[in-house]
Symmetry: none
Subunit: 215 residues, 4 copies
């Protein structure tokens, strides 16, 4: 499992022995281990195909143990979502307090790209399990986030093709994450290429409306 899949950034899975900062017998990492394994399996096989039995078996605990840490299966997903999408919430908040200039939008895309690659497996999961996720609570949450993102970069009064360009910019970034796994090349370079195209799209969209032109 890659580190990007880790739920709490820095230390994940690996460091099992040792202290958790307080100097005590480190326990309490089970919750995170559950999240890690769940995310990995959800992303790999989908939400429905991943059973709690499977998660428990991988962790070598019983299903009942999962229920000590999470109220339901859905709750595991919710917790992942909350932990991992905070950067995006912050981005949305940050953008809310700024004028909707082209430069802002470009900066938004740059930051979004970072946020996305910091939680790639989760976003891949959301993308590949839309039908399932739609009837889960995170579905609503995710959708409203996306709508907020669109509000930020898309002008509802612009000509339709320009609106499409903005939507496309966002989706290109999402799709980029897993479609480009099929393409050769250094991941970081690919990310930059995707970002470049997304920025281009938004720039073009802006250009035709003629608000503030890029160089």
């Amino acid at each position: 499992m890659g580190d990007t899949g880790g739920v709490s950034g820095a230390e994940s899975e690996g460091s099992v022995r040792g202290t958790d900062g307080t100097g005590h017998r480190r326990r309490g990492n089970t919750r995170k281990r559950i999240q890690d394994v769940a995310l990995e399996l959800f992303a790999e096989q989908g939400y429905e195909k991943t059973s709690l039995r499977e998660i428990a078996e991988r962790l070598d605990v019983t299903k009942a143990a999962l229920y000590y840490h999470f109220k339901t299966k859905e709750d595991i997903l919710v917790s992942l979502f909350e932990d991992l999408t905070r950067p995006i919430d912050e981005l949305i908040e940050w953008a809310g307090n700024r004028p909707r200039t082209l430069d802002t939008k470009r900066e938004v895309l740059r930051r979004y790209s970072d946020a996305l690659s910091g939680a790639a497996p989760l976003f891949r999961f959301m993308q590949e399990n839309q039908a399932t996720v739609r009837e889960l609570s995170v579905g609503e949450t995710f959708k409203s986030r996306m709508i907020r993102m669109m509000d930020i970069i898309k002008d509802p009064d612009a000509p339709l093709p320009d609106q499409v360009r903005c939507i496309s910019a966002l989706f290109t970034m999402h799709a980029g994450m897993f479609v480009l796994r099929e393409v050769e090349g250094d991941p970081e370079e690919k990310r930059k290429a995707v970002l470049e195209v997304a920025i281009d799209l938004v720039t073009q969209a802006h250009g035709s409306t003629g608000e503030d032109r890029p160089s």
Copy 2:
């Protein structure tokens, strides 16, 4: 569900000749009715969440009747896929026999747009159930179709951003189908806007390589 969801174009669901109110002689079309209902439910709720019981109930037949017409649940999906993706197969074949000029690519996108909107629910389904579909036989088939499409419009030696533009063009068309349901506007106009953006993307990708320039 619009008529585009119907499996064999013209008459769908509605026209049930024979005694329908009295007994239940609705001869011969049961197979198609199953496909129609299945597609509708698969697209709406996802593949896993749609049970054969539900399909059967909607049609007012028993589950066993479904098994008379299809060998397995997956088989229903396969049959839908085969029936509905024929136009895309033909498109791929057509494009295979042509030089890969910009004009060809644009024509491919135009035809692809038609093909897509002729089987919108199925494509929406494939998009929203990728995790599930990946381990189904249609998953492989679909993936190989997509790769063929990419071979047609994408130059593997072009700079990365241009390759991304091409991929983005394709995904914009896919995503356009269901994301734009959130946007106001006439469906046909939206389709045209999406197509315009996709063609633009491919054109730009082509331009920077400098093969054959558009006007």
Copy 3:
């Protein structure tokens, strides 16, 4: 399949084209073909594991066609049983009208051996599906036949070991049919060896009671 499996001795399965003796377009062999295939599958896989679908598929007819010829699945088995065990009925009748001398018993065993190898697959089936067959009508019939056979060769007042010898003689002949498939050697020779042992057993049983001694 094999000729011993054929329901009516001489011509089975193979001769499809041609006339059925009257000079007409041979029809009416379907019933027999069903019996042949059913016996083959019953013997190979067991009664429960053999579905009517499978039988029908092998014959390239529909399940419904089977119901034209036989009232139920069980009925197919019953018909096989009736057709194939006639020789044994006749043997029992023949033996019923004779004194129970050692010579009679030996002759019974000889004839029994013939009868058995004339319907080997059916007997193999009966042996290997006793649990199933027990609750079928043929179960009762078969059991009563066996009891009659025992009455013929076994003396209820003989010492227990001698009674066992007689039972063993019969079972040796049954088991001989399929256990010896594991042993190398010419089938006809094996049959003779089995018969020899069976006769020996009955002879010994008789000897100790001292009725009429063999040479």
Copy 4:
């Protein structure tokens, strides 16, 4: 069912400590209770005809409870087989380390008789469900056990009739178990009669080869 059917010798079925009449706390022994009931039903009705529903109902638990204790239906049978055929494995091992004299063979038969009657219902089951068992994993296991037993008492270079005698000895013991239920008499006496006949058969087989003669 007799105690010989019990899976773990001593206390079976009956002794259910805990509140049995009131609630349903009959802790810990559920696994064994499942085995007991399954064996009883398998032997009585056959493997296929015995549904997990039936087993569960008899135990007054849900089907799902069975799946807590056993992975599949087949697994229940496998567990019975493993638990109950250990004595025979030991016998085979014991015999493997000894010269193949007549005395050894006789001792083998004696011990085999004991082993058989210690797991009579299972052996009856194996005998009566051969067709079914053949495609189950225990089928292979059982067959290889039988072949090992034959290796021990049968000389592959002896004349065919003598080989048949040895096979017959083994089958007589198997068949003896359930065919003799039809014959009057004390079970223990019947067992001894069967053993005597089996030993006789092996002795005769040995005698004609002339290795080491009995008294």
